[in-house]
Structure formats: structure tokens, C-alpha cells
Assembly symmetry: C2
Homo-oligomer: 116 residues x 2
């Protein structure tokens, strides 16, 4: 699924229950030209900037990290976290590359519960 198709789908789902989710009105609410949003949804242009993806995510009730990934980007705050300690996080991520989801979840849970 491309970024555009995903957005179009999400927006149309909303539209079916709320007719303010037209291309024009959503575009206006997030502050871009309707024709631009239209092109985004048909993958006629590259996915928009991180800021615009976030606005879109908020508007459509979608997860920003997921949408950003579909847009080929990584959230700026995550980039900053990595850049603070690049070698440490580089090693960690490369270790976790092929780990199963539940392993990553359990690591996150351990840390959240503060047992370090």
C-alpha cells in the first residue's frame, strides 16, 4: 500500500460518515492546496513533509509514526534520540533488526517498568 492510497482510503472512510472530509475541506484544515492533496492521494507527487504528514495523521486519526514510515521518513524526535548517542542506538537497532515483535515489546516494557 502506498502512502497516497492509504490516505485516500482513510479519508474516504471518514467521508462516508462525515461529509466535511472532502479533499477540499481536509486540505483547507491542514493548510495546503486542494490540488496538492489530490495529487498526494493519487501518488502523483512524493509524500509531503513531516509536518504535513503529522497534520494529516491528526486530522484522519491515524498513527503518525506509521504514516511517516509509509512516507519513507522517520520522525524527527526519533532521529534526535539516536543522534544523542549514535553508536549505542546503532548497535541496539542492528541487534533488534531481526528480533520478533514480542521481543522488542518486552524490552520496551522492561524499560518502562524501570528495572535498570
Amino acid at each position: 500500500m502506498t502512502f497516497g492510497k492509504y490516505i485516500r482510503n482513510a479519508r474516504e472512510n471518514r467521508l462516508s460518515e462525515d461529509r466535511t472530509f472532502s479533499v477540499r475541506q481536509v486540505a483547507q484544515r491542514i493548510g495546503v492546496e486542494p490540488s496538492y492533496l489530490s495529487k498526494i492521494e493519487r501518488d502523483q507527487v512524493a509524500p509531503p513533509s513531516e509536518a504535513t504528514v503529522r497534520l494529516l495523521a491528526g486530522e484522519l486519526g491515524e498513527d503518525a509514526d506509521l504514516l511517516l514510515a509509509m512516507a519513507g521518513k522517520v520522525s524527527g524526535d526519533l532521529r534526535n534520540i539516536i543522534m544523542q548517542r549514535p553508536q549505542l542506538f546503532a548497535e541496539l537497532l542492528r541487534q533488534l533488526k531481526d528480533a520478533p515483535d514480542h521481543a522488542i515489546e518486552s524490552v520496551a516494557r522492561e524499560i518502562r517498568d524501570g528495572d535498570w
Copy 2:
């Protein structure tokens, strides 16, 4: 320490023991114009592309992840790892943001030792 100063410093250290580490010769070995490397080292231009940073790291025997971080970038392979499972890694990284170094190291060690 800026990217430029760090590179200049690293290169001059090498130069003191091996006179092939002049701006011109290093530039030639990594395939850029000498004037460009000169400007990079004096922070007169933004840090170069990821590819060039990597060549520079290899040439100077420095850690690529560290250099990339100084250049305000995150390694493309790490970005790809995150984009495979953006929500999972987003949560993990945000949890680890303020964790002490040793906690991150121990997590990496646990995973490496395969106990999941």
C-alpha cells in the same frame, strides 16, 4: 565540536604521521574537489551527503555512525530498520531516550545473546 572541526582535527592527526593526508589527497581519494573538502572542514558549507561522510569515515578511521550524527544525519540502514516496524521502534526509542548508557548496552547484550 562541529562536524568540520572534527574532520579537520582527525585529518591533521593523520597528516602528522602520514603526509598523504593533505586536503587535496584525501579529497581525491574520496572523490570530491579539494576546495569542497576545505569548505567542509571550515564549516563553510553544510556537512556532505551520507555517502561522502562514510567515505570520509573510512579514510580517517572514524566511526561512521558518530560522524553521521555530527552531520545531523542518521544512517540509512537504521532508518530502514525503523521503517519496517515504525510503531514498535518508536515506542522503544522514546522509552530509552533518558535511560542510562549501561541500560541500553545491557539490552543490546541480552538480545545479542539471544534470550528472547
